[in-house]
Amino acid sequence: MSETAMDRREFIRRCTRAGVCVAAAGSLGVAFYDSRAPAAIPGPTAALTLPDYSVGPLPGRICIARGVDRKRLVRQAFAALGGMQAFVNPGERVLLKVNAAFASPPGLGATTHPDLVKAVVRLCLEAGAKKVTVTDNPINDPASCFALSGIDAAARQAGADVIVPRQSLFQRFSLTGGRLVRDWPVLAAPLLQADRIIGLAPVKDHHRSGASMTLKNWYGLLGGRRNIFHQDVHTLIAELAVMIRPTVVVLDGTQSMITNGPTGGSLSDLKPTGTLIVSTDPVAADAAGAALLGKQAQDLPFIARAEKAGAGTTDYRALNLKEIKAI
């Protein structure tokens, strides 16, 4: 086949057509391109920064109180650490992060005991807190969990508001340097409205992590299908320890769930351990609380990882330790 010379007009016409086609295809591609991944939750994706709620550069403080009455224990433990006014200033808004994970009665020890909630709310209000709110994101139906655990009634009777989680309260959050907490829905609104955060957790056995105490309690701030983190639960708990720098935590080991945790179900899963720990250092609180489950801190990898991540110290005796017996 013989080659013939190109007609200039034809050449330009064809080039123009080809160019228009390429431009049109490119424009369509740009028009349909979505640079963002599908949203985990609807709404804005602006970067979320969580404040540091800790009491400042003071050395860590911890009080281990022995006794059986939660109200007395927590009041006297705080008194030993300088009173609630050492942690909450007049006019501040305080958020209590309870463990309301299950719609089970308070006597089974699967959730934060309402007596403890009531006592801490009152302490905060006595210290001059402008507002106290109580929240958690349970995995069971939230309204049922707050109602049947007795937390809702206790909090309201003591003068606090209860925030039951709903979609609009979540925002996506990425932990700087975090491997698991990346672009994940977090119960942000109550956190951002608070000046202080106090964690209130029961001592429980946990089938997956070995124990559920103050550090594991932050798990309840996550939304979404957070059970996928169970595959690497120790790392996740350590990241949560970095994510939330609480003002103080209260670990309730007056009764500890020794077996079949975290849900338990039987009163025989509980053991009277007569201890309540208040600390500005959640790692220290959990390290001390491990003994209530017959374990040592090194038996629970999340404690060591949280310490390594800079969230606190396992050497709770090196802190300004107070040990009291409640009277």
Partner: protein, 354 residues
């Protein structure tokens, strides 16, 4: 001048172009369709999906027959699948999933006009009787008392736990008051009446263990990852008291003798890899190895199709006695007078529980 390229394309060129355009259109249609089917993983991340299945109104009928129980529903029934089980029991879901969990139905019931007390029933469908027994046995409370009126059931102060056929049930009361506990018993019997299953207590794998020294209600079935070793699945265990020493024996039926021997060797090697030392004096059981793991002893051997041994023994003498009894017993199961294979490991009446 004659144009370099004919104005009208040739047939081949036209067909080729049409084919390319058809492929592009197909890709476009595919992309358009795909965007309406977002990945389930993405959907699952959305909080609104969290309670979708838990509150499914598909079946609002009570999950238990309440006739003559004096109880009324205190909450709607909830149903959970392997994907959503964690929404109900969080980290404990792993135990059930490993044991073959199929579904869970839960509901709360309260005595009529007394809504400050209630019972929540958990009906786990575990697929098989073996699986149900596995979760039942692994969670048995040490201080529990056997329920005399219900087979494969025990009570604690506030609750009743039972295995019935392929179901494992928990009846969790808010307290231990006698009226509430009596009503729990009525509901549990009603469930047994309507769901069949054996009238006597059943213990899968019960014949695998010798009777001498056997502790009542101590048998367990660990379906996966027994003793922290992934390859040890379907391990039956039983507690013994020999010369005042508490011991745990284990047996697992494998496909054939070589599989049992290979697993025994693999387990032994794994223990050694993790720092176990061979005991100075091997036990007087043919082919058995005794390993010292920290301050406990582990004996492991095989007999015919069975892997067997003694787990975490604190006294080597008592452990050796138990290993000898276990080996002799298993030889009886594999010898010429052995019962038919289908009877081995089959449910049997547990007289101790009656």
């Amino acid at each position: 001048m004659k144009p370099a390229v004919p104005k009208k394309p040739g047939k081949i060129e036209t067909r080729l172009s049409m084919a390319v355009l058809a492929v592009l259109v197909a890709i476009g249609v595919g992309v358009a369709l795909r965007q309406f089917r977002i990945s389930p993983a993405v959907l699952a991340l959305r909080p609104e999906s969290l309670h979708e299945e838990a509150g499914s109104p598909a079946d609002r009928a009570p999950i238990i027959d309440l006739k003559e129980s004096g109880m009324v529903p205190f909450s709607p029934p909830e149903r959970f699948t392997p994907d959503t089980l964690y929404e109900k029991i969080d980290g404990r879901a792993d135990l059930y999933l490993a044991a073959g969990f199929v579904s869970l139905a839960t509901q709360r019931f309260a005595p009529d006009h007394a809504h400050d007390r209630w019972v929540e029933v958990f009906v786990y469908d575990m697929g098989t009787q073996q699986n149900a027994f596995s979760v039942f046995s692994m969670q048995r409370r040490e201080t529990a008392r056997t329920d005399r009126q219900l087979p494969n059931a025990y009570r604690t102060e506030n609750a009743l736990f039972m295995a019935r056929g392929q179901y494992y049930l928990e009846w969790i009361g808010t307290d231990g008051t006698p009226p509430l506990q009596e009503q729990i018993g009525i509901l549990a019997r009603r469930f047994s009446d309507t769901h069949g299953g054996a009238d006597a207590a059943v213990v899968p794998g019960g014949r695998l263990f010798p009777e001498a020294g056997l502790s009542a209600d101590s048998r367990q079935l660990i379906t996966a990852n027994a003793f922290g070793y992934e390859q040890l699945d379907n391990i039956h265990t039983a507690g013994y008291l020999i010369h005042g020493v508490r011991l745990t024996a284990f047996v697992s039926e494998r496909k054939n003798a070589s599989a049992a021997a290979a697993l025994a060797d693999s387990y032994r090697q794994t223990l050694i890899a993790y720092g176990a030392d061979a005991a100075a004096a091997p036990p007087a059981v043919d082919g058995a190895a005794m390993l010292q793991v920290f301050d406990t002893m582990e004996i492991v051997f095989s007999r015919g199709n069975y892997l067997a041994g003694v787990h975490e023994a604190t006294d080597p003498t008592a452990a050796t006695i138990l290993a000898q009894r276990l080996a002799e017993h298993l030889e009886g199961l594999t010898g010429p007078h052995a019962p038919p294979p289908q009877e081995i490991g089959e449910a049997e009446e547990n007289k101790e529980q009656q």
